[in-house]
Symmetry: C2
Subunit: 174 residues, 2 copies
């Protein structure tokens, strides 16, 4: 439980002119216990995430990824068609110009109902997005990359702030 | 490799009035090989995903999740503050009303520069989003939920289409 408050960039914090004082949010460990007024989360060893109602953060992220996979599948199918079936490729491109991909499921539903040829394309997109999600997408890599992106962003934000506030010209060369 | 084309809902396809014909995109396996004009992907056993330039789909998804984790961290810190530090809670809420959380990094950078008290809040948010990403977020669960969301969406889309086109009233009862 304690490990939640020991963070990889805590050393970098010492670069800053002052340590976070009492005004900051207390370490999450002190608030790990679930408040009785919130019925959702039972896992007491994790930080309480408010306001997600029925859906967990994982479900919310999965819904976002679902749209992303549809977008990827459309690109995959489009690239496949481009090489050997120009007619279908252009039909898909034309349909794409008229319909938003923001809601992937609605896009597929509309594509299915456009014509019998479009229906085949829609079925293919459903197949490809499922195969991509379950076989091709590198989930372990996603976790690694997300962790790396986090470290880099935190380090960059703090470095920029230190450089800006200290005006330490000597630091700029690093 | 062949498994990419054998999909869990292939049985459901037989419900439809016709099978996808030659007009559809060919099974991805026939296009697995990397085209020489695209220098990015080396893994030949996967579907070719075009148009991501330097960034892989995993990197793109990680960048989205990075923003999502910042959003979550702000909610966590805000909920923590609400219980024991109303002043800081209101300051954060006031800052939130003036700044968008769409770009999490920019939000944190601006928060750092607002005042020394806001700086402490920003550092806390950086800590929490890193801890959330590395410890609390359930990556395995994300994968499971994403797969489930995909299956349910594909089944639903096809069921709705079949019901709509066949006008099979008897099916509606199921």
């Amino acid at each position: 439980m304690e490990s939640c408050t020991i963070l990889p960039f805590s050393r970098s914090l010492s670069l800053l002119s002052r340590r976070p004082d009492r005004h900051e949010a207390r370490p999450a460990s002190s608030l790990f216990k679930r408040r009785s007024s919130h019925p959702a989360r039972i896992r007491c060893h994790k930080m309480y995430v408010p306001g997600f109602g029925e859906a967990s953060p994982e479900k919310k992220a999965a819904n976002h990824l679902h749209k992303f996979f549809t977008y990827i599948a459309v690109r995959i199918v489009s690239a496949q068609l481009e090489t050997y079936n120009r007619e279908a490729y252009e039909e898909l491109a034309e349909f794409l110009s008229r319909h938003s991909l923001n809601d992937g499921d609605k896009f597929c539903a509309d594509l299915m109902r456009e014509s019998s040829r479009h229906q085949s394309l829609a079925l293919r997109i459903l197949e490809v997005r499922s195969a991509y999600c379950k076989q091709d997408f590198e989930w372990d890599n996603l976790r690694r990359v997300a962790s790396k992106v986090m470290d880099e962003a935190n380090t960059r934000l703090m470095r920029e702030y230190v450089l800006e506030t200290s005006h330490a010209e000597t630091e700029r060369g690093k």
